[in-house]
Symmetry: C2
Subunit: 427 residues, 2 copies
């Protein structure tokens, strides 16, 4: 029996995180972690699909408004017809010629598309009674490429090349599934490094995290150089010499300024520097990467579609690929990015934090490991300690590692209590 999408609900959910300065950085001093949330209803009463896109407060209503015309395209459609060749889902939600104009494939309309596309993947996985990562991992390379829109990618990778790439690691898939299920996938955390925290808070948070098993710590920089030097020193001391420290500037520098500033922090041996300049500046990132080597340049959380990823990877300006789960067009477009990253031999370390993002990306890292890169070494998925209590099936962290979820779906269903308490109403 096919499942038909019959209706949908949207919710504007906002958490007042700015009150604690959780999530504060040089570009985003006071984020209110928010979700533009969609529930797809079906003709089976017990079966819904849940998806969301992440924002930091004001503007969340625009993503909710963007979800509506997109979700409407799915009403009356069967999930099976969308997922027979899953690129159909992506094309349907990004190809409406009028809606495309206000992107195309970027900004509000693409953030909204991600929520809806992810909701269909959630629904599809629930129909199969499996988590999304498992549904994808059980695909053959041929089925995997049928999820991807190769438009604008053929100068970098073709479906045939992608199949070849995945076929090379096809034989050991079951083994890798067993490994990651048992050991989990490594993570790093920014929970200690927000710009709004005092040195004392920073120290205490580092200590707590080290005790719980983390060895990779990220710290926000870019507001004041002297502060940065002091805070990096505190963190390096707390962490010890062997742990990995990463710095994140959240786009505040121009290119020449970035090169200078990063030079001043080199003594703390950052493993990578994240978002040193405009998230659109491919040439800028490439120039910085050349200048600050061996410190690597990481970016991707605001890289807005596969065409931008293609160029960042081609240019050498993205040496760590921090793909986001809902900035680009949902699972389908993330799979395209995993292929591109493997093509250019760049490790994928997805962006997370906020709300719902950790729940999403745990699936993506497992997919990358099992189906595409076949590597866990030198790869870490972001993790942040906040707001997991709002999810029906929150992440399960063990010793600083994500344990792959076993519940069916894509893990971003909010609890009813959360909807009751945190649904935003404009004052």
């Amino acid at each position: 029996m096919p499942t038909t999408i019959t209706a949908f609900e949207t919710h504007d959910i906002r958490f007042p995180t700015s009150q604690q300065l959780d999530g504060s950085d040089a570009m985003n001093p006071d984020p209110d972690y928010s979700a533009a949330y969609v529930v797809l209803k079906t003709d089976s009463e017990s079966l819904n699909g849940f998806g969301m896109t992440f924002t930091i407060g004001r503007g969340n209503e625009l993503c909710v408004a963007g979800i509506r015309p997109l979700a409407r395209l799915l009403v009356g459609v069967t999930v099976e017809s969308l997922m027979a060749e899953p690129v159909t889902l992506y094309r349907k939600l990004t190809g409406d010629s009028q809606l495309r104009w206000v992107g195309p494939e970027k900004g509000v309309i693409h953030l909204a598309a991600a929520a809806v596309i992810n909701a269909v993947w959630d629904l599809w996985a629930r129909i199969h009674g499996k988590p999304v990562w498992q549904v994808v991992c059980e695909m053959s390379p041929e089925q995997f490429v049928q999820c991807v829109d190769f438009r604008y990618l053929s100068d970098a990778i073709t479906p045939t090349q992608a199949i070849e790439l995945m076929s090379r690691v096809q034989a050991d898939k079951a083994e890798r599934i067993a490994t990651v299920t048992e050991q989990g996938y490594p993570s790093y955390t920014t929970s200690a490094g927000w710009l709004g925290y005092s040195d004392e808070a920073l120290k205490k948070k580092c200590e707590g995290l080290r005790e719980r098993g983390w060895s990779h710590f990220k710290i926000k920089v870019g507001r004041d150089l002297d502060d940065d030097i002091r805070r990096c020193r505190v963190m390096r001391q707390e962490m010890g010499d062997d742990a990995f420290m990463m710095i994140d500037a959240n786009q505040v520098w121009d290119v020449p300024q970035a090169i200078k500033w990063i030079g001043q922090l080199a003594e703390f041996r950052p493993w990578f520097v994240e978002e040193p300049t405009s998230p659109d500046d491919i040439f800028g990132h490439a120039a910085i990467a050349q200048a600050v080597s061996p410190i690597r340049v990481a970016t991707g959380e605001m890289c807005h579609n596969r065409v931008m990823f293609k160029q960042f990877l081609q240019s050498g300006g993205m040496q760590v690929c921090q793909v986001d789960s809902c900035r680009i067009g949902g699972v389908n477009e993330v799979l395209a990015v995993l292929l591109l990253a493997a093509r250019y031999k760049v490790p994928v370390c997805p962006h997370a934090g906020g709300v719902g993002l950790c729940e999403y990306v745990q699936h993506l890292s497992v997919i990358d490991y099992v189906c595409v890169s076949a590597e866990m070494e030198g790869r870490i998925t972001e993790y942040s300690d906040h707001l997991h209590e709002h999810m029906v099936t929150p992440v399960n962290m063990q010793n600083g590692r994500y344990i792959p979820p076993t519940d069916a779906g894509y893990s971003v269903e909010f609890t009813q209590d959360t909807l009751n308490q945190f649904t935003y109403s404009p004052s």
Copy 2:
């Protein structure tokens, strides 16, 4: 007496242009030309500011929704405080840290910012009783650079370099104003070349336009190669050998496909090929430009901010700069693009058509000619014959040239009749 912005109105205006196939191309088969329109009210009853952003139908409501939180930032603010150093206006409307997340500086939120920023320029010009082009042309180079946000541009051009660049042509400004006021600014038109038109309609439209003085014609291509060859032949015959023909693919090709297809149309000697592939693909445009030379590659109408323009210009992938008046952040960011284009010696030929765009861009081309490039040769501004009757001060075309407007403001005020008749209400 300073003027305070006290309130604002938004309007969702849509014209059912898809019924005539005006505006049809390979990517956009059925556009309904639309405007997300804002009216800024002031404490002076007779003084309002009018701004709009252009869309092609569905999704216009998102831009209207995006205008609201941005226009709200201006309520209670004096126009003079915003325009004392006009970059303040740009930063205020693109710098809200939470709203920035859903861009940044791209898509719906940036289209909305353009409407609001342009409305303030309109208001500012009305206060001075002058058209916007004149207000800018009367600025010194030092005042001009104070309009521009140089963030992320300093590796390409600094304020000092921009001042130098404009100072070189400062002496003959009055002369150029006299020239353009008298002769007008050259235009080209796509009114004949829409993909939905029959060969007969194409012929007739060409004839009419030639009689009215045009010598540059653009034709849409990219849906079917045999059709394209036939239609280009019809147009070239109608136009004669001396007229300039341009082709526009509206982003439908992958890079290798673009190179092949354009090769097949080379016999019709297109002056440029517009949007051969994804509007985000800088490297792709550069590769195409290299392969199809001497045909030039034009792009820019969907180039979403100054950082992208910077790279397109640096790469050689943008040989004709088709900046849009409301895709990027209004007058302020357009001025940045004019400077970048001059820096890389690329002619600016603004995108227009749709609704309101011709009214906007006539100002921008005059500014480019008078203050920045000092060149009219080899530069043409797009023009389309539709929907001017809805504007209070429509463009004045003489012999295929834009005659610079003399009315105060930025020329995009809609008539009351139009608001009454074409305000959209969702069915």
